[in-house]
Symmetry: C2
Subunit: 210 residues, 2 copies
């Protein structure tokens, strides 16, 4: 199961989210065209993604929701799960920490870090906040391999250095500074302003047409 396209991984995660919903609603099977329309994509795309992960159904009643969830889990999750930390527990960091808690069993936010002494050594949004001074130690102790970066933009580069030095293997960067990392560290960046500017551009186009 090596080398799935990045795009496919993203969609698998989204499928699973939807499938978990279906399961909660008592739906046991789902057609490719149903899953597709729930994600605004084509049924072929769904079938192709599912083909790539090697799942297939015998019935003509669509995919078995439970089974598909498990297969996607085998792809995305590790057996023991991975531990993540939020670095910079300000507005966004708090929102993410509070939101994430308990959503996924194989992915846990086990610590947060900050430099502000008013925040450190307390539980914030349900997770203990440690001082940055203890960062390297805690990464080891808690076996943290993923960092979610929500520090101020001007701190981002310097903090990233430390994340990498401490052995963190994946970074989700929400700061508005884009980062450079060594090739053995996976970096995912997301900038909200870019998203809203994309929306704005297409709204503008729409207005022009009419």
């Amino acid at each position: 199961m090596n080398k799935l396209p990045e795009k496919t991984i993203g969609r698998l995660s989204e499928y699973r989210r939807t499938l978990l919903n279906c399961l909660a609603k008592g739906k046991t099977h789902i057609y490719s065209h149903e899953l597709a329309s729930l994600h605004n994509i084509t049924p072929v795309q769904v079938r192709r993604d599912i083909m790539l992960i090697g799942y297939s159904t015998t019935l003509k009643k669509g995919y078995d929701v439970k089974a598909l969830i498990d297969v996607i889990g085998d792809i995305i999750d590790t057996e023991d799960g991975l531990n993540a930390a939020v670095i910079g527990i300000g507005n966004l960091g708090k929102a993410i920490t509070a939101y994430f808690n308990g959503k996924r069993s194989k992915l846990r936010i086990v610590a947060t870090f900050d430099v502000n002494p008013d925040k450190t050594n307390r539980v914030i949004s349900g997770v203990k906040c440690y001082a940055m001074a203890d960062f390297e130690k805690m990464v080891k102790d808690l076996d943290i391999s993923i960092g979610i970066l929500t520090v101020p933009p001007e701190e981002a580069a310097q903090v990233t250095e430390r994340l990498i030095m401490s052995g963190i293997k994946g970074i989700l960067n929400y700061t508005s500074t884009s980062l450079n990392v060594s090739p053995n560290v996976y970096l995912e960046e997301y900038d909200m302003i870019t998203s809203i500017e994309k929306v704005a551009y297409f709204v503008k186009q729409q207005n022009k047409e009419s």
Copy 2:
């Protein structure tokens, strides 16, 4: 300047963010390879994107930072700017509203909306929060064309209906429910769990290799 690829629009927004930083630091010109390395992409990609928007430089000193910012602005921004609203002013909504305020002159969060009476008719994160009861009226009065959706997932579909009915033309959906909209409304979705799961997947792959 019609029909630029969506990917290019996203990158232009990112370039501008970087260019604004450069300008603030007093840098007046920038080479394609500099801009590229700041975004972990190739210089050709940068040059191609810039070619597509019709900007070109005469000097061999790289692009004029100020001029390029303006050209990107001509593409992305509208002359009078666009107004956005945040719907659901909880943890995430508050973080976004506080963060966004004043970041872009041609894009403004002019209102927030909520159903919780403790939140309505107050200023939250610097912006007035209105009751959902007033939604349609305020969209008209304030000329809101973009909605940023941060309500609970189970409310998302129903609220979206209302956004569209009220004439909103672009939606940025941060809820974990994926939405269906009519083709004349632009929808951008972002799910944090998908992002972190992508990171987890690639960390897992990395671990397997070593």
